[in-house]
Every structure is written in structure tokens, then in C-alpha cells.
């Protein structure tokens, strides 16, 4: 359907991590500034942790986007679990060296020592809980040698806490925890996102009652909010096409929010 009011908002909330979609919210901005300041310090490792959907990956991508303009930054958003491959990719993309022989830790450190940068290169590791203990130990040794500075993200669960304790407790000099959004923050997040894309009419449809319901359904989780709103605007798109008289443009229908929540699995019905 052409000229649909809801197709553009729907596509805005597709669950993809794109630094250009980063929305400035007070608490997240504060976190991001802390992260940037920590990167500038002579730290060996920085840990970014929080529950799934709190925006860790988005912050990491944003950091990569901003820092890559000024210094050598490498982003691993999909973990490379093979140790040889991991070291080989690091050597090639950070130090521009592609050895033909098997890449050992000693060989990697030799390469790193041979190449000098004005700033220590930064490697961003998303989903670090997927790396093996052995590989995490090598990452620790590399950071100890100050060859590379690592910023890693971890899910906040008991298991990952153990990993963090074992490998990073003595090395991490800074850790930043991300929290779920409050109703007010979530409203700002949604409206900023819509206004950024010039969806003014749709942004005005969100009232406090709607936001209360959305926050209670998603518990302030950004990922769940994106999924919910994507389903919600898909519903609106369908009704606009089939029953346009049912749409009220001054507020979102609670029934349709709940239907979207059922579709995304936030409500079990």
C-alpha cells in the first residue's frame, strides 16, 4: 500500500543494530560518555555488561563508528571461536601481517611488538561469553602485554559472571553496567526515533497510558520494544488497508498493543 502512514514507522523498528539509528537518551548518553572516557584511559580492558536487550551491542557499534575515524579499531560482532583464526584475523587487520605459518600467541606478540601505533589499537568484542576459556586466556595475555586494548560485552547472567570473575577480575579496570529503560526513557526513545524519521503523526499517537502498557509488556527492554512496535505498526498497516475506520489517530489502541505483544510472544495466550 502506497502512502501508508505506518509502513515507515514499522521499518524503523526492525531489530537491526545500526549506529546511525542510535537514539540519544540521557542515561544511555551518560553511559556512552563514560565508555568513551574509559577508552581514552590507559586501561587494558573495559567490560560492558547488562541483560540482553539493554543496548550493549548498539553502544559497541556506536563506539566503533565514532572511534574508527581517529584510531585503529576493530569490531568483532560475530565471535571467531577458533583461536588460530582469531589471532590470524587480528594480526592481519590490526597489524597488516598475514603469516603463512600457524599463528601462535608468541608469534602474534612478536608481530604486535614489531608494529607501533601512536595509540594502542582497540578491539571490540561483542558477545564475549561465546569465546572459549582458552581463547579468553590468550586475550588476557595480549591485553597484559599492552599490544591491544579490548572492550568486551557480556550478558549479565550467573554463568557469565563466573567467566568475568575468572578471566577479567584483576585486569578490567573499568566496567559499565547497562540497565533497562524506564517508561519515560522508553517514551523518549520511541518518539526520538519516530521524529528522527519525520513520523510526527505517529509519534503523537503515543500517550502516557500507551507507554505504561508498552513498558509493562517489555519491561523497558529495547530489543523487546523494537519487536513489539514492529508488530504493532504491522497491525496498524493491515487495519489501515482493510478497516481504516477502526483506526483512531489520537492514541494507540491498547487492544492492538496487546495483540502485537501476543504476536511477539511477550504475552502468552
Amino acid at each position: 500500500m502506497e502512502n501508508s502512514l505506518f509502513s515507515k514507522p514499522r521499518d524503523l523498528f526492525l531489530d537491526v543494530v545500526n549506529p546511525r539509528d542510535y537514539v540519544q537518551i540521557d542515561s544511555v548518553s551518560h553511559m556512552y560518555q563514560s565508555l568513551k572516557n574509559s577508552v581514552q584511559k590507559p586501561l587494558k580492558m573495559i567490560l560492558l555488561f547488562g541483560k540482553p536487550g539493554t543496548g550493549k551491542s548498539m553502544l559497541l557499534h556506536k563506539l566503533h563508528h565514532d572511534l574508527s575515524k581517529h584510531q585503529k579499531v576493530l569490531m568483532f560482532d560475530i565471535p571467531i571461536v577458533d583461536e588460530d583464526d582469531f589471532l590470524r584475523v587480528l594480526a592481519q587487520r590490526i597489524f597488516g601481517h598475514s603469516p603463512r605459518e600457524v599463528m601462535t600467541l608468541t608469534r602474534f606478540l612478536e608481530i604486535a611488538e614489531a608494529v607501533s601505533y601512536p595509540d594502542v589499537p582497540i578491539v571490540l568484542l561483542d558477545e564475549a561469553q561465546l569465546y572459549s576459556s582458552s581463547l579468553m586466556e590468550k586475550i588476557r595475555l595480549i591485553s597484559d602485554a599492552r599490544a591491544i586494548k579490548f572492550v568486551i560485552t557480556l550478558h549479565k547472567t550467573d554463568k557469565e559472571d563466573v567467566i568475568a570473575k575468572e578471566h577479567f577480575q584483576t585486569r578490567i579496570w573499568e566496567s559499565i553496567e547497562l540497565q533497562n529503560a524506564s517508561a519515560e526513557e522508553l517514551k523518549v526513545y520511541i518518539q526520538k526515533k519516530l521524529l528522527k524519521a519525520n513520523c510526527f503523526d505517529v509519534a503523537n499517537m503515543f500517550n502516557d497510558k500507551n507507554m505504561k502498557l508498552i513498558t509493562s509488556l517489555t519491561k523497558g527492554n529495547y530489543r523487546d520494544t523494537n519487536k513489539l512496535l514492529f508488530s504493532l505498526f504491522s497491525l496498524y498497516y493491515w487495519y489501515e488497508e482493510n478497516h481504516p475506520t477502526l483506526i483512531k489517530y489520537n492514541a494507540l489502541k491498547s487492544k492492538w498493543i496487546e495483540m502485537a505483544a501476543i504476536h511477539t510472544g511477550l504475552i502468552r495466550a
Binding site: S231, L235, Y239, K255, E258, M259, I262, H263, I267, A269
Partner: protein
């Protein structure tokens, strides 16, 4: 692709499920209040059923002893025969001055009980002690059937509730619960303020297997008299400790 019809169906199911606890609570409250209303209604009806005959009977008896009491609920043969024989005996034996006096004061009890109709009671202690100031009679138990028959005759003649209580107590002690019931009922109808008569009445009902009626009677009597002994008996019946 969204299946809107299916989503709407699932949403409806979800709403029904989410409102179910509230609906359940409302239904329970309605049910409880309905039961409470029904109970209060039935207790009121029962109250009227049990209270009315007693008050009417007592007033009628005070006014005219010869009038047949037909409202008494048990309507056992005994009661009928008892009532119908009263006028004859009264005409035959009862002197006019005695009838004119209140029943408690007009009882020539010692005279009747001292009639030795059996040789087994040669020297019984005085069956009825002299009338005390509070008009109550102190009766000793006669084990003889003939003696009790004479007391019954006197009761028919005089309609003295104290005699009725004595006879009711006698029959209850001898396991003759239907007779005990009848005499205590008669006594209650003559004087509804004799605690022991009500107790015997209720106990006889229990012994006759009419526990619910006994409880109901005790409830009503307690509400009117606030009797401790009646309350104690009611408790023991309800707890099942009454034997």
C-alpha cells in the same frame, strides 16, 4: 505475515483469562451473600414457627385451661389424649376455688401424692416439700409406676408446670424420651421460663434423633433467656459430646 483473525481470537482468550480471577471473586462474593441471605431468611421463618405456638399456647392456657391446644407441633397421640381428658377430670374432681387461683398456688400436691396406691411406698419421704416462697416445688423421685401415674393425674387436674417438669424429668431418667418430650413440651407451654424443662425438651429431642430441631430450639431459647445451661447443652450437642 500477520494472521489478524487468529490474533484477535487469541487476544479475546487472553482477556477472558486475565479477567477470570476477578469474575471468580465476584461470583464467590455473590454466592456467599446469597447463601447468607438464604440462611438469615430460613432462620427467621424457623423463629416464627417455633416462637408463635409457644406464646399463643401459654396465653391461651392462662385464659382457659379447657381449650384444646392444637398448635403444638409434635401432635403426638399423647398430647391429644391428654388435652381431651382435661375437661372431664376438671369437672369431676377439681373444686371451683382451686381453678380460680393461679396454677402454682392452687396445687394441693401433697394431698394427691400421699395417696398410697401401692404398698411399696409405705413411708416415702415427702414427695413434695412445702411450697417455698418462690413458689417452686422440691420433688423427690418416686420409682413406682403407680406413683408417677398419680402425679400425672394431679398434673392433669391442676396443670401445675412444676409437676409437669417432675414428670418429664422422671420419664427422661427412665429412658422414656417421647414421654419426657411430651411433658416438657406441655410444661413449656404452661410456663416458658423454666430452664430445666427446656433442657429436658432439647435432650429428649436429641435422644429421639431430632438433633436439628433440638439445636434450633436451644438457639431460640438462648436468644430469649440467655441461659448458660442451655448454651452449655447446645455446645455439647454441636461438638458431639452429648450422650
Amino acid at each position: 505475515m500477520l494472521n489478524i483473525r487468529d490474533l484477535e481470537r487469541r487476544w479475546l482468550k487472553y482477556k477472558i483469562k486475565s479477567y477470570a480471577p476477578y469474575l471468580g471473586a465476584v461470583f464467590t462474593i455473590l454466592l456467599v451473600s446469597l447463601i447468607a441471605f438464604y440462611n438469615s431468611l430460613s432462620s427467621t421463618v424457623a423463629n416464627e414457627e417455633i416462637n408463635l405456638p409457644l406464646t399463643e399456647n401459654s396465653s391461651e392456657i392462662k385464659a382457659n385451661n379447657t381449650e384444646t391446644v392444637t398448635i403444638l407441633e409434635p401432635s403426638m397421640d399423647f398430647v391429644q389424649s391428654f388435652q381431651t381428658t382435661i375437661p372431664e377430670t376438671q369437672i369431676a374432681t377439681a373444686p371451683a376455688p382451686q381453678r380460680a387461683l393461679p396454677p402454682q398456688q392452687s396445687i394441693p400436691v401433697p394431698k394427691v401424692l400421699n395417696i398410697p396406691s401401692s404398698t411399696s411406698i409405705k413411708a416415702p419421704p415427702p414427695a413434695i416439700s412445702p411450697l417455698s416462697g418462690d413458689k417452686s416445688l422440691s420433688l423427690n423421685r418416686n420409682e413406682s409406676k403407680l406413683d408417677i401415674e398419680s402425679v400425672e393425674r394431679r398434673f392433669k387436674e391442676t396443670s401445675n408446670p412444676n409437676l409437669g417438669l417432675f414428670i418429664a424429668r422422671y420419664h427422661y431418667d427412665h429412658g422414656n424420651y417421647s414421654e419426657a418430650y411430651n411433658f416438657s413440651l406441655k410444661t413449656n407451654s404452661m410456663n416458658s421460663k423454666i430452664d430445666e424443662s427446656w433442657i429436658i425438651f432439647a435432650k429428649s429431642l436429641v435422644k429421639l434423633g431430632r438433633v436439628e430441631q433440638a439445636k434450633k430450639t436451644l438457639h431460640l431459647y438462648i436468644s430469649e433467656s440467655n441461659s448458660e445451661s442451655a448454651r452449655s447443652l447446645l455446645d455439647s450437642i454441636e461438638q458431639g459430646t452429648f450422650k
